[in-house]
Every structure is written in C-alpha cells, then in structure tokens.
C-alpha cells in the first residue's frame, strides 16, 4: 500500500503482521480441532465392531443352519451369512445396535438404537419450524413493509430482545408456564412433550428467522417497490408478489439457520420435552432429542465406555448436520442472492 516505505524493513511491522495472521488462523484451527476431537471420541465404536465381529465369527457359523431354515426365501448362501451375521451383531453387541429401535443405554443389556432419538428430534424440529417460520416471516413483512417508520424502530429491537434470552430461561418458562397452559388448552396426557418443547424451541428460533428475513426484505432495491406501486399495485400486493419472491433465497437462508439453532438446542430440549426415548408419531408424547441425550447422559457415563463413545457419535452427527446447514446457507443461498441482483441490475 505505502510503496515508498517498501525498501525499509521494519521488524515490528513485519512481526505484527505475522502474529496477527497467525492468530486469525485460530478460528480455522478451532473448527478443525472440534472435528478431530469430537470424531476421535466417537471412533472407537467402529473399531470395536471389527474386533468383536472377528471374535464372534465362530458363533455366526454355528447359528448358520438355524437361521437358514427361518429364512426360506434367501437365495444364495452368501446372503444367508450376511443376514445371520447382522442378526448376530444386533443381539450380541451393544455397539452395533445403533440402528435398532430402543435407546436403553443403562441396563444389563444396553441398547443404543438411535431411531427414537432421530424421530424425536425430527418431531420437535418440525413442530418448532411450523410454529416459528410463518410467524417470523409474517412479522418481518409487517416490520419492513407495513409498519410506520416510528413503529418499526420499536418493533425491531423488541423482537430482537428475544435473542438475548438465555435458552435455559426459555426452557424454564416452557417448563413452568407454557406446559401447564398448553395442557389446559389441548388436554393431552403428559405435561412435557414434543409439542411444548417444539413451541419453546420455536421461540428461540424466532429472532434468528425474523432478523435475517427482515434484512433480506429490506435489501430488495427500492426501485422494485416503487415500480410496483407506480403501476397501481397496493402495498400488500407489492409485499407479497414483488418483494417476497425477490427475497426468497435470503428467507431460505434464514429458515436454514433457524433450523440449525433448533436442531442443536439442548437446554430447552432437556427441560421441556419430557426426555422419554420412544417411537411414536403423536406430537403430544414425550420425546428425547439427540442433543438432550448428550446433555442428560454425558455427566453420568464412564470415560471411554461404549455409551460415552455413542454420545460422541451423536455429537458428531449433530456437528456434521449443522456444519452442512451453515455451508448451504453460506454458499448456495448467498450466491443465489448475488446472482439474482447482478442479472437484474
């Protein structure tokens, strides 16, 4: 930049730049370290599988005949071995019961079936999104399109206050107040359930979806709005047929980031969902989410135990999923927004 200084080598400047650059790399290093260390603790599950699979080989051979008679439709011998092998591992090894349907980590015959947790997380996330998305987007439309400037200045910071609520406070409110109120309205059996948890997590996601949607809406060039109004469209028509479609990529990104928040939310899940790992499609049943499982059980597991590794495996899955969501919002949707305006300008 400053070309006439170039000849003189200034040690302090050189050092400062190197140090600053090195420190800036810390963020990258932390992300990589999280990857390494969360996966490292999850990895032994797969290693154990191989070792135990080798040791149970003889067992598999023995049960071969018995299983063969059960499976009369199996065509080839190879297939049979595969089948019996799988059954064997399901019955014998806790570490490979990951795909089974029961989550019962603390028992004589521990089961680590992740399906109830997946289903629970899915249920809560869906309820939260169905609650938070429409209300946040409509509120953002009101704020950016219909509200008078003076009112807008009040609404925005007030709704953003919600982002400052610690999730344990929202969880506490859900546990103490919302659960009772909603139970009185809907009259379901278990007080804490997927519905209460979903609504509470929706509350945590509202400020994220609202703020980002509002930003996306206000980023639409004023010329769009003026052209539409000039052609005789009403403000409502302009908002829903001009501004909203133009802001769709930004709104998608907002919803995706809200989804990431809901998906990884731990404290609200721990406090308001009832924490019972069961397979049911009823939204008013108690559920246990992936993140709540980590939060509730990690404190009690033995360091290096299979249970410990499974919890880290769940953590790895959560991490991969939110990482992918963020990458999607960052690269795919941002590019869409950029391209859209470049082509229209």
């Amino acid at each position: 930049m400053v070309t006439f200084n170039k000849k003189k080598f200034r040690f302090s400047d050189w050092l400062a730049e190197k140090v600053i650059k090195a420190v800036a790399f810390l963020s990258i290093a932390v992300v990589i370290l999280i990857f390494i260390f969360v996966f490292r603790e999850a990895f032994p599950i797969f290693k154990m599988d191989k070792k135990e699979a080798a040791s149970t080989e003889t067992l598999v051979q023995e049960s071969y005949g018995g299983l063969g008679t059960d499976n009369s439709t199996v065509k080839s011998a190879d297939n049979q071995v595969d089948n019996s092998n799988r059954k064997q591992t399901n019955d014998e090894k806790p570490s490979s019961s990951l795909l089974s349907k029961t989550w019962m980590p603390v028992s004589d015959n521990p089961r680590y079936g992740l399906w109830p947790l997946f289903l629970g997380t899915l249920k809560v996330t869906l309820i939260a999104l169905l609650f938070a998305t429409p209300i946040s987007i409509l509120a953002a439309i009101y704020t950016s399109m219909f509200a008078k400037p003076g009112i807008r200045e009040i609404i925005k910071p007030v709704i953003e206050l919600l982002a400052g609520f610690p999730s344990v406070v929202i969880g506490f409110f859900a546990l103490m107040v919302m659960a009772t109120v909603l139970q009185n309205i809907f009259g379901y059996a278990s007080r804490l359930n997927a519905f209460v948890g979903g609504i509470a997590m929706g509350l945590a996601a509202i400020p994220i979806i609202y703020t980002l949607t509002e930003d996306a809406l206000t980023a639409i060039p004023k010329t769009f709005i003026e052209a539409s109004l000039g052609l005789g469209a009403s403000l409502r028509q302009t908002a829903f047929y001009v501004v909203l479609p133009a802001a769709v990529p930004g709104i998608f990104a907002a919803v995706v980031l809200g989804l990431g928040r809901i998906f990884g939310e731990t404290m609200i899940a721990l406090m308001a969902t009832g924490n019972a790992a069961m397979i049911s499609m009823n939204p008013f049943d108690s559920v246990r989410t992936l993140s709540a499982t980590i939060g509730a059980e990690m404190a009690e597991v033995v360091f290096g135990d299979i249970h410990y590794n499974v919890l880290f495996l769940i953590g790895s899955l959560l991490f991969i999923f939110t990482f992918a969501l963020n990458a999607l919002a960052e690269f795919y949707f941002k590019n869409l927004v950029v391209r859209k305006y470049q082509s229209k300008k």
């Binding site: 400047d13 932390v30 509120a139 610690p166």
Partner: protein
C-alpha cells in the same frame, strides 16, 4: 373480494404475528418478575444455599458465573480483536484465506453449544488436562477433570465469533481518511492500527466484550460437563476448582432437585437475576452499537 378489504385483512394478520411475538416476550418478562421479585433480597444474593438447596441464596452461583465470564473474556477478547483486525485491515477480501477464516467464524457461531461442551470434554479435559497432569504432577489428577478454567475456555470458543463480528463492524466504521492521513504522515501500517484504528474501535471492542459476557453468562450446555457443579460449599479459589453457575442452577433446581415445588421461589428468583444480568448487559451493548452506527452516517 374487494382489494382494500383484502389489504386490510392481510396487513392485520402480519401485524397480529408481531403482536403475538411481543406478547410472548412480555409474558416471559412479567411472569419471571412476578414470580421472582418477592424472593429477591439482599440475603438471597449474598448467602450460600442452605438445607439441601431448599433455602438460602445463590451467592456462589453469582460469583461462579462472574469468575467464569471474566476468564472467558480474558481469553476470547484478545483473540477476537486480533482476528477482527486481520479481517478488516490485512486480509484481501477475495483471498481464499480470508474467505476460509470468515467461514470458520460463521461455523463457530452456528455450531450447537452442546458440541462445544463435548469438545471441551474431549480436548481440554481428556487431552490437554490429562497431558498436563502427566507432565507436571506425575499423573496425579488435577487438570484432567472438569474445572472452571476448562469451562471458561470452552465458553471463550463459543463467544469468539460474537467478539469478532462486533469489533470488525466497529473497525470498518473508522473513516478511510484517518488511516490515510496517518500513513501519509509516515506512520507504518502497524503504527496506524495501534494509534488510529484501535483507539477508534474501543467502543466496538467494549460492545463485543459485553455481548460475549452476556452470551457466556446465559449458556449452560457447554459447561454441563466441563466444570459446573450442582453445589459447592466454597467459592472457586483456584483455576482447577469446579464452580456453580446461575444457568446451571436454574436447570438443576427446576428439573432434578429433590423438591421442585418447594424451591419454585428460588428458581424464579434465580431466573430473574440471570435475565436481569443478560438484559442489562445487552441493553448497554445496544446503546454502544447504536452510537457506533451513528458515526458512519
């Protein structure tokens, strides 16, 4: 349907959505204040819990939260400020390095807080702490277990993006002319940063710090298994001590205490204290940020 009628209906629906959100916010605040205020007094703030946590105050939780956030800020702020300086002053926006750092910061901001807890357990306690033990104390367990230092550092990683974003925003509001004037007078780039950019972004650094503290004070998931305890009979007096925290206290008291109903006043009052803390911090940050933004206009 008449267009005007439709306009009014649709606009009212969007307006109602705003009102619903505001109603929820107001009711959380009201219920917390109504439930917590009667139990809030000086004794509650300055005493230890008594009678198996069913009576007494939350003094150790307040101190624990304060100490934890201070250590966290000491760790997070310098790194956050330097990263922000790099992004705003040195990095070429189009370079792969700058883009990667930006993406990493955004990733840190969206990674679920429980993952930070796992990372703290796996990295700080299981790796760094264990190795420190075998190096310094010959295998005696001191650092390889949850404590306030690891909890604070875990929290520091979580709040790093908060600091970076605020400080970078503040640095970018410093007019170009000032930098150019400094460079034209013969100052080097580092001198310019030290004497012009940093003093100009003090309020931004303060905003970032306050926001980070407010976030760190409220988060519970990262400290669940890196250092927070249900009850501690003394205040933390060394970095290898465990500590009580307000958020963790609320969680435990409302879900796992022996008598959830009897301790309800304590729970509400603790929530009120935590909410008051994060809110007042956020309010200060909002005012500071507003003043920074005004500078650019």
């Amino acid at each position: 349907m008449n267009r005007n009628v439709k306009d009014i209906i649709v606009e009212s629906i969007t307006g109602i959505c705003v009102l619903v959100i505001i109603f929820i916010i107001v009711s959380i605040l009201t219920i917390t204040i109504v439930g917590g205020w009667p139990n809030l007094n000086w004794a509650f703030l300055s005493e230890f819990p008594k009678d198996g946590m069913t009576k007494g105050g939350i003094f150790p939780a307040i101190v624990g939260t304060a100490v934890m956030t201070i250590i966290m800020a000491v760790a997070a702020v310098p790194f956050g400020v330097i990263t922000a300086i790099y992004l705003a002053e040195y990095a070429n926006e189009k370079s792969v390095i700058a883009k990667t750092i930006r993406f990493a910061v955004k990733t840190l901001a969206v990674v679920p807080s429980i993952i930070f807890g796992l990372f703290g357990l796996g990295f700080f306690i299981g790796f760094v702490g264990k190795n420190m033990d075998s190096l310094f104390s010959g295998g005696e367990l001191r650092w390889g277990q949850p404590n306030i230092l690891w909890a604070s550092l875990t929290m520091a990683l979580l709040t790093l993006p908060v600091v970076i974003v605020s400080v970078e925003e503040a640095i970018r509001t410093i007019p170009r002319d000032m930098r150019e004037a400094s460079l034209a007078l013969g100052a080097t780039k580092w001198q310019t940063i030290r004497k012009v950019v940093l003093p100009g972004s003090v309020s931004g650094i303060l905003t970032g710090t306050i926001l980070a503290v407010s976030r760190g004070a409220g988060e519970v998931a990262p400290i669940l298994f890196t250092g927070a305890v249900y009850f501690s009979s003394h205040l933390p007096h060394s970095l290898s001590d465990q500590f009580m925290s307000l958020g963790y206290h609320i969680y435990i008291m409302s879900t796992q205490s022996s008598n959830v109903d009897a301790t309800q006043p304590i729970q509400f009052a603790t929530t009120l204290v935590l909410l008051f803390l994060t809110f007042s911090l956020n309010a200060v940050a909002v005012i500071l940020r507003y003043r920074i933004r005004k500078r650019t206009k």
